[in-house]
Amino acid sequence: MYVIEKTEELSQGVKSFIVKAPRIAKKCQPGQFIILRTDEDGERIPLTIADFNRETGTITLIFQEVGCSTRQLGRLQAGQAILDVAGPLGNASHIDKFGTVVCIGGGIGVAPVYPIARAYREAGNKVVSIIGARNESLLILEKEMAAVSDILHVTTDDGSKGHKGMVIDPLKSMIAAGEKIDLVIAIGPVVMMRGVAEVTRPYGIKTIVSLNPIMVDGTGMCGGCRVSVGNTNKFACVDGPEFDAHQVDFTGLMARQRMYLEHEKEERKCGGECSCH
């Protein structure tokens, strides 16, 4: 059992949990994730490790309540425990000194970008971060991102905070202004990641995205997380989750992510039977 030490609501439907998981906290690196199960009948839910503390043996998970399983997770309180937490899974981000690194986080994607941005900064890079959300109330980790970035741009779809528009806008401006960019890392909804890839592709700017296909085991056993990268199949859980954005088949990824949409509706409809209502 993995005890939840602290919970916090970061914005509407977005929660942050600090969870005791000493073995994982000791080992994990930015870019990695865990898989958890709230209870006996629960789904295996992959979540990025948004932060970790090796002294206290804790990891931070930031998640959005999108469906039954994440809502069920969200109902847990400090002092309660999560049944299973397995990890750290996936490969660590390749942190090095590149020069200027642009870290882009969209929506909940800001959470996984945060430890990566911090690590790039610590490795001596100039970090320009761009974070965005639909509106101000959905924006997360602004203070934290500001603290680990040389420059922070904020965008919202409705203009309620920062620049009105999309996260790719400040990126486009930087490119237009002729700023030298050595690496872009983008994490967020697939459409956003594809958007970023299309912006940087013509300029040959190295761009990394972190993919989140549907997973079961996270250890390379089920093959469910396969994505086409450079026309060969990769398993996101063991070969990724980070890949060269210019090689990823985003269309295929999007179709596969929607695989259980119908089932999820059934799940939501199921009223009394589904334990999250």
Binding site: D41, V85, P88, C222, R226, R256, M259, E273
Partner: protein
């Protein structure tokens, strides 16, 4: 007497069982078991034993059954086999003990597997005494992977007096027995009971612990005080065919399909959290046990037509005879001498059909089986909306990639000798991770041999120290 037929296994009728996940075969009653045991000739040479990878003393246990001592029968079996309730159900007996039974030559062999199952179900408990409370363990041994290989090694080492910890990546121990083989063939309660028996011996099982990720093998030695490690991580990496359309929605590896259903209880969705897409018409590619399990699972989940697509002929089908028989009875349809060419998809990215080509058998290939050759122009389309790829699995790679000094072959399997020694001192390996996908009993045999080797290794090591 000699020509008498073996006793039939009571089972659910095909019509009944294709609608439920309850065990297909019901097990011998005491009377049937006794009558079947009476067929055994108690041969002095006991050829049947030579067919058993763990050398169970078959005539001896059958004699106990015949004389109404099922408890002693199971004790006899357990001297060699820690998981008889599992083996009695899933071993390919027709290729092992029963093949060599003298009765096989003239009539039908003694139903050794069914008798083993009868005895094991009678006495689902441990036979060796746990280490006495307070007694100093002989040393600390880590087991990676809680499949049949790892669990067997763990049990034997605990019996010898070691402090054993099993590390398992998934949230439940059992390996393929838990996530792969379906409930209707191997009830999970049986696997759990056999695992509880190990816990009673003092074996610690730590789940959600992924060697190569949560910790490395070197860390177990250097930081956690383990003196030997056994790796039994199995063959869990699914193979795909590299044909067009394999990434469409509705295409599963057998591992994913079966894991969703067995381990994650997708058949209870939405009470359980994990869904599975079944489809109306399902093609399963392959014809091993894994394929039969996938096909029969799809039927039980409500698919109307389930096809096995296999590129060789019935004679080459690798599945256990009993499973093939059961699959046929339940209505699985066979497209033999047929290979998939391409998976067709709908606009929305879902499977809409499977294009196949007919095959004929040519000269024998390296494996000694006749090589299938496509018949030109014989393509046809199967109307399906789900495809399960059950064409084999490769070695789990996580441990090998993070353990310097551990040699692997070109396929990625760990290189270990008969006894289980690897190229790295103190590290042993066995089961599917060494042999490639094989059988439960071979994995257990490897676990047993490794336990002996580990015992010897540690005794020698300690003797040198003293």
């Amino acid at each position: 007497m000699l020509m008498s037929l073996r006793h039939k296994m009571p089972e659910q009728t095909p019509d009944e069982r294709r609608k439920n996940f309850k065990e297909v075969t019901l097990g011998y009653t005491a009377d049937i078991a006794k009558a079947e045991a009476d067929r055994c000739l108690q041969c002095k040479t006991a050829p049947c034993r030579q067919g058993c990878p763990v050398e169970v003393n078959i005539p001896a246990f059958i004699k106990h059954l015949r004389e109404d001592r099922p408890d002693q029968a199971v004790a006899e079996i357990k001297q060699k086999n820690n998981l008889p309730a599992v083996c009695g159900r899933v071993c390919p007996q027709e290729h092992q003990c029963e093949k060599l039974c003298v009765l096989a030559k003239k009539g039908q062999p003694v139903a050794i597997g069914r008798l083993e199952r009868f005895a094991a179900d009678y006495g689902l408990s441990c036979d060796c005494e746990p280490r006495e409370v307070g007694a100093e363990p002989l040393g600390k041994v880590a087991i990676i992977g809680a499949g049949p290989a790892g669990l067997t090694a763990a049990g034997d080492l605990a019996c010898l007096g070691y402090d054993v910890t099993v590390f398992e990546a998934l949230h439940e121990p059992g390996g393929v027995l838990m996530y792969g083989i379906p409930e209707f063939r191997l009830p999970k309660s049986i696997v759990r009971k056999e695992i509880d028996g190990l816990k009673q011996l003092g074996v610690t099982i730590e789940v959600n612990a992924i060697a190569g990720k949560t910790f490395t093998i070197d860390e177990l030695f250097e930081e956690e005080g383990f003196e030997a490690v056994f790796i039994g991580t199995g063959a869990g990496l699914p193979h795909f065919m590299d044909i067009p359309g394999e990434n469409l929605n509705g295409v599963y590896s057998a591992n994913e399909f079966l894991t969703r259903v067995n381990l994650m209880k997708a058949y209870q969705f939405p009470q359980s959290g994990t869904p599975v897409h079944i489809g109306k018409n399902v093609a399963v590619v392959g014809a091993g046990n894994v394929a039969m399990d996938s096909a029969r699972t799809a039927l039980r989940l409500g698919a109307e037509n389930v096809y096995i697509v296999y590129r060789r002929s019935e004679a080459e089908i690798p599945a256990r005879a009993e499973e093939l028989e059961h699959a046929k009875e339940e209505g699985v349809q066979f497209h033999l001498l047929t290979a998939p060419v391409r998976i067709m998809g709908s606009e929305k990215g879902w499977v809409s059909g499977l294009e196949c080509i007919r095959m004929e058998l040519g000269e024998p290939d390296k494996s000694g089986r006749r090589r299938p050759i496509p018949v030109e122009g014989s393509e046809y389309t199967l109307d399906v909306d789900a495809v399960v790829m059950a064409i084999g699995q490769g070695p789990n790679p996580l441990v090998q990639h993070t353990t310097p000094g551990l040699e692997v072959n070109k396929n990625g399997n760990i290189i270990a000798n008969e006894a289980g020694f690897t190229s790295k001192e103190g590290v042993f390996a066995g089961g599917d991770i060494v042999t490639g996908a094989a059988t439960v009993i071979l994995a257990m045999g490897a676990g047993k041999k490794a336990a002996v080797a580990i015992h010897q290794f540690l005794q020698e090591k300690h003797a040198v120290k003293e």
